[in-house]
């Protein structure tokens, strides 16, 4: 807990320490463990609405989702950083990413009792889904802010101009959101549907963006011919809110 509290109380000192490689390995380790535990607790509470098996399954899936997406995107980040002149090692870069994940996980741990209230007193499945998405969105935004600040503070893209830095960070966050949303879609269900029995993974789920397009089509009553490119275009348009988000976060964070 100390690492994250230290990070929250004095983020600049924390990132300075990581930049000088004095504490990256130790802090990174603690952040990874703490994040996994906090996310497991949040997943457990989410799944409790359905059954104990769902609670256990979500407790395993949440850390896999968040940390797994970070691990998958880390090589890309390190590559960007090397090209743009960083003097940091892989462990330091991983610690910076874990700092954002850690803040998000801690806030989700804090919001778990709020979700638990509704789990204990209510049975509305759509409400739980919306509440879970809302909590993850809020915590994710704040984690994103710390991650952005960390990247700036450790001078991850030293040789890049301010505009290019913002662009690369924004692109990496988009990648993280892209990978993370697909992992979340495939790892569903997190909040179990009370009408259905418990199972580990929903086999009908395939690709988030294609499924969004198909759902919109069925909601609007349209039919697209099999194999047309239309779903791809519309799926691409769905990425625009995501891109706006990351650019917005960059503008907000760099406005300091």
């Amino acid at each position: 807990m100390n690492g994250v509290i230290h990070l929250l109380r004095d983020p600049d000192a924390f990132f300075e320490c990581v930049r000088r490689a004095r504490c990256a390995r130790a802090q990174g380790g603690w952040l990874a463990i703490l994040s996994a535990v906090c996310l497991a607790v949040f997943g457990c509470v989410m799944g409790l609405a359905h059954s104990p098996e769902q609670a256990l399954s979500s407790a395993v899936k949440m850390p896999v989702l968040v940390i797994g997406a970070g691990v998958l995107c880390l090589p890309a980040l390190y590559l960007f950083a090397l090209v743009l002149g960083t003097r940091l090692g892989m462990v330091q870069v991983a610690t910076v990413v874990l700092s954002g994940v850690g803040v998000m996980a801690l806030l989700l741990l804090g919001l778990s009792p709020v979700i638990l209230t509704f789990v204990l007193t209510s049975h509305s499945y759509p409400f739980f889904q919306l509440l879970a998405v809302g909590c993850v969105a809020v915590s994710g935004c704040i984690g994103l802010y710390y991650l952005w600040r960390g990247m700036e503070r450790v001078r991850l893209f030293e040789r890049a101009s301010a505009g290019l830095r913002r662009g690369v960070m924004g692109a990496w966050f988009t990648l993280y959101a892209f990978v993370g949303s697909q992992i979340a879609w495939r790892l569903s269900p997190f909040v179990g549907d009370p009408a259905q029995p418990f199972f580990w993974l929903q086999p009908s789920r395939d690709n988030l963006y294609v499924d969004i397009v198909r759902a919109l089509e069925s909601a609007l009553g349209l039919q697209s011919p099999v194999g047309s490119m239309q779903p791809m275009w519309i799926g691409g348009l769905c990425l625009i809110p995501l891109i706006l988000l990351v650019l917005g976060s960059g503008l907000v964070a760099s406005a300091e």
């Binding site: 509290i5 929250l8 109380r9 004095d10 600049d12 000192a13 300075e16 803040v103 801690l106 806030l107 741990l109 804090g110 919001l111 778990s112 009792p113 709020v114 638990l116 209230t117 509704f118 007193t121 209510s122 049975h123 509305s124 499945y125 759509p126 409400f127 889904q129 919306l130 998405v133 809302g134 993850v136 969105a137 809020v138 994710g140 935004c141 704040i142 994103l144 802010y145 949303s181 879609w185 569903s188 549907d193 009408a195 988030l208 969004i212 759902a215 919109l216 069925s218 909601a219 769905c238 809110p241 995501l242 706006l244 988000l245 917005g248 976060s249 907000v252 964070a253 406005a255 300091e256």
Partner: protein
Amino acid sequence: MSNSLTIIPRFLRNPAAFFESIQCGENQVASRSLAVSSVLFLAAFGFVLGLSHSLWQALSSAVKMPMLFLATIVFCLPAFYFFSLVLGTPLKMAQVATIVLTGIGVTAFLLLGLAPVMLFFVLTSKSYAFFQLLAVAFVAISGCIGTYFLWRGMALTDPGTERSSGSLRRVLLCTWFTLYAFVGSQMAWRLSPLVGDPALPFVLMRPSRDNFYVDVIHAVERAMGVQPSTWNTEVLPVLVVISGMCLVPVLLLVFGAGIIAGRPKPSAIPSAPPAPVASASGAAQ
């Protein structure tokens, strides 16, 4: 015991001294006394509320009112503490808990003061709708005044820098208010009835009550003559994901603005963190 009953009047006479003691970390006795006094005062108000129906309702509301307020605090406190950390407070969890309990203590004290007024109407009138409205109005007024003391508590224990302190407190207050209202309304909904309906027999809890927000939406739909929404299991998960994605930019702007406005600017001298400097200057005086 006498300490518990007198702690709120003592606090109201000199809030600054009380909050200074919280800032110095002397808050365990205060927390316990505040909790005990809140339970007693809220139980008294709940008893009077339920008396309009029957003695059983009075006893049940006397148990439910403290449970409602204090259970809501227990569920909201971790989230509030972690959000406060993010927004830059130097306080510890125990200090934040004491400050929050102060706000609830003042609310409970005011409700105790308004209980005789409630009792007067219980004894001289039989209008169920009026009782409900009166109860809601009293809780709302006392809640607002309690929140004012929460604001003052944060101001007195967490001075911050001149530039950021006002907006930081504002964001913290909004966060606490949102969390408490969100969880508290669901708790109150599920713990109903607090004022018993005279047309119905006494019942401990209404089983038909489920989720406050869903029930409000259904009630609005019924009032407007719209069909209650049926949740299509194919489309719903996707709609949830899309609404989440659209929610994210809005939330980001709100919280990002709050964080940017609330955080003190990082000092130009990187070596010495602010806290030891403040305590050193305090020791030197």
